[in-house]
């Protein structure tokens, strides 16, 4: 991704039921993830 601008990074912190936090990071384009999902074995 030589000269492409960065996706906007958004961050949301949520408290879980047991009090621990989880931070969700989202980007402009979250449609892409992986090239080649692999078997779990």
């Amino acid at each position: 991704m030589p000269d492409e601008p960065f996706d906007t990074l958004d961050k949301e912190t949520v408290e879980k039921e047991d009090g621990r936090y989880i931070v969700f990071y989202t980007f402009d384009d979250d449609s892409e993830t992986d090239d080649q999902p692999e078997d779990d074995s």
């Binding site: 989880i22 980007f27 090239d35």
Partner: protein, 333 residues
Amino acid sequence: MSELRWNPVLREWVAYATHRQNRTFLPPAEYCPLCPTKPGGFPTEVPRESYGIAVFENRFPSFTPDAPEPDAPDDPFQKVAAGRGVCEVVLYSSEHGSTLAGMTERHIGNLTRVWADRYRELAARDDVSYVYIFENKGEAVGVTLHHPHGQVYGYPFVPPVPKREIDGAREYLANNGSPLHADLLASEQRDGRRVVVAGEHFTAFVPFFARYPYEVHLYANRAVPNIAAFSEDEVRDFARTMKRLLSGYDALFGFSLPYIMAMHQSPTDGKNYDGLAHFHVEFYPPNRTENKLKYLAGSEAGAGAFIMDAAPEETAGRLRAAIESASGMGERR
């Protein structure tokens, strides 16, 4: 129990977190606790139906912010401290079967920005002296969950290996007037035989003194102290270099190669590490061949002296060929 005990002989802390004995161990994929929670499904660690990248507090932490002050025995050989710190899990993707090597450069770049954000956030805490970003991949290195993830430990002390690096860099600087890591990198680049990826801003090489056959150190070409100090171009090139290296690892023997990934960077204990800390990542794959592992046995575990049965110049050549082969198969962006 969550406490630190001091080893006065080796001069290092050992963390005791006995609750970790009960942590989830290799569940079937349909009960993965790191996948999103599906409607009507069992509640996982992620209370949403989808996510891009997520970070949460480890349910079975080695250190916790509220660890109680332990009873201190009246014995100088039984020095203890509270196991205070932070342990986070970084979920690289909601795709259960993926790996870092299989992700796009763009996604690895986004993950790099998440790692940088975690570094900044934990570095700001008074109870964290060192932010350690790492990944254990594969059952051969003790992984208990296959979902693609790494971890971040916020240690309440500077751990022994980074401390030895900093101490070595301090002594080298005093004796030579120049930074150790930059000079070491320049030496590897001049020699060239062990370099496996030469990027614009990062260089990956099997070090002259590798302790594992396919150990790789990935250095920032600039003396950048930590991941939060990367420029945008460095983030891009870091993602590109990581993608090339990890794809090569997987092409090496034709299967997804297990490894330990360790990021070394500047401590966060408030002291000055100018000229001493130089961001780099160290990879330790346990495989010495396709079906043989290197174990830490008598000499390594008991004496701390690694014995190698493969020359770094040879293994670097094989890994370089695998990287070129993987790149030839088409690298997606």
